[in-house]
């Protein structure tokens, strides 16, 4: 039997991140996947040079570029983490501390790596 508690839930933190990431991915997800994963690598409609090392380094070293990269990577990860956590419950996996840690922990680790990455590419 599930224990019932009226304690205030901390879900709003994860839900807010989920919402921001969901909106960003809903608006930009398809075009980003198309451009970075199909068009540019295959040279279809866009030149493959657009993702060349010098170009991308310049983008990542730029302050705005860093913000864009962080926004996409971090928010996409937190959106997915929350949804996957809820979906595990939907398929019968109890939403306990273990599954919570697995999901949000992965998003946190990814976020930290992203911060490291945008700093490590230089300025």
């Amino acid at each position: 039997m599930r224990k019932h508690s009226n304690a205030r839930s901390n879900a709003p933190i994860f839900w807010a991140l989920f919402g921001a990431g969901g909106m960003l991915s809903a608006l930009t997800g398809p075009v980003l996947v198309f451009m970075t994963g199909i068009a540019i690598p295959a040279g279809f409609l866009l030149s493959p040079d657009l993702m060349s090392y010098p170009r991308m380094l310049g983008f990542a070293q730029n302050f705005i570029g860093k913000l864009c990269i962080l926004a996409v990577v971090v928010l996409f990860l937190w959106h997915a983490a929350h949804r996957v956590f809820k979906s595990l419950h939907d398929v019968g996996i109890h939403p306990g501390p273990a599954s919570k840690l697995a999901c949000y922990g992965t998003a946190f680790a990814g976020s930290m790596l992203a911060v490291y990455g945008v700093v490590a590419v230089g300025f």
Partner: protein
């Protein structure tokens, strides 16, 4: 409510196993939720690219070479479909997740909210694509 004694009236509790397979509405819901895995996968692809970029030209070009591989292109094509489904379902549920919007005294209908959202997504798609397309070589 949490009876220790078995209930003499023997109420029957039905199991939830396989619940989402039994109704097309729930199958679509699960498909919608599954798109999160694609969102995560794409974020990891970008993250790996970023980390390779930080490591240097050779590492980054290695990442690019993988992206050019037909398997990667095919997976991204599947990912594109999943992302598009995420976009559609995000704005499809938005009338429920937003407070009612009242314009000139009348409430804006749900399908209008969805249409505006999808239009915004198309708009952002065009703006981003044209911005990248217009980058000088």
């Amino acid at each position: 409510m949490k009876d220790m004694q078995p209930d003499a009236r023997r109420p029957y509790v039905r199991p939830m196993e396989g619940w989402w397979r039994k109704n097309p509405f729930f199958v679509r819901y699960m498909a919608r939720e599954l798109t999160a895995l694609v969102v995560a996968a794409y974020a990891f692809v970008l993250l790996i690219g970023l980390l390779c970029l930080a490591q240097g030209e050779a590492a980054y070009n290695g990442w690019l070479a993988v992206l050019r591989h037909p398997v990667s292109l095919s997976l991204h094509a599947v990912g594109l479909v999943a992302m598009a489904y995420h976009t559609w379902t995000w704005f499809e549920i938005m009338p429920k997740t937003m407070p009612p919007i009242v314009v000139h005294g009348k409430r804006v209908a749900g399908h209008v909210v969805t249409a505006v959202g999808v239009a915004a997504a198309i708009g952002v798609t065009l703006v981003l694509f044209l911005a990248v397309w217009g980058i000088k070589p």
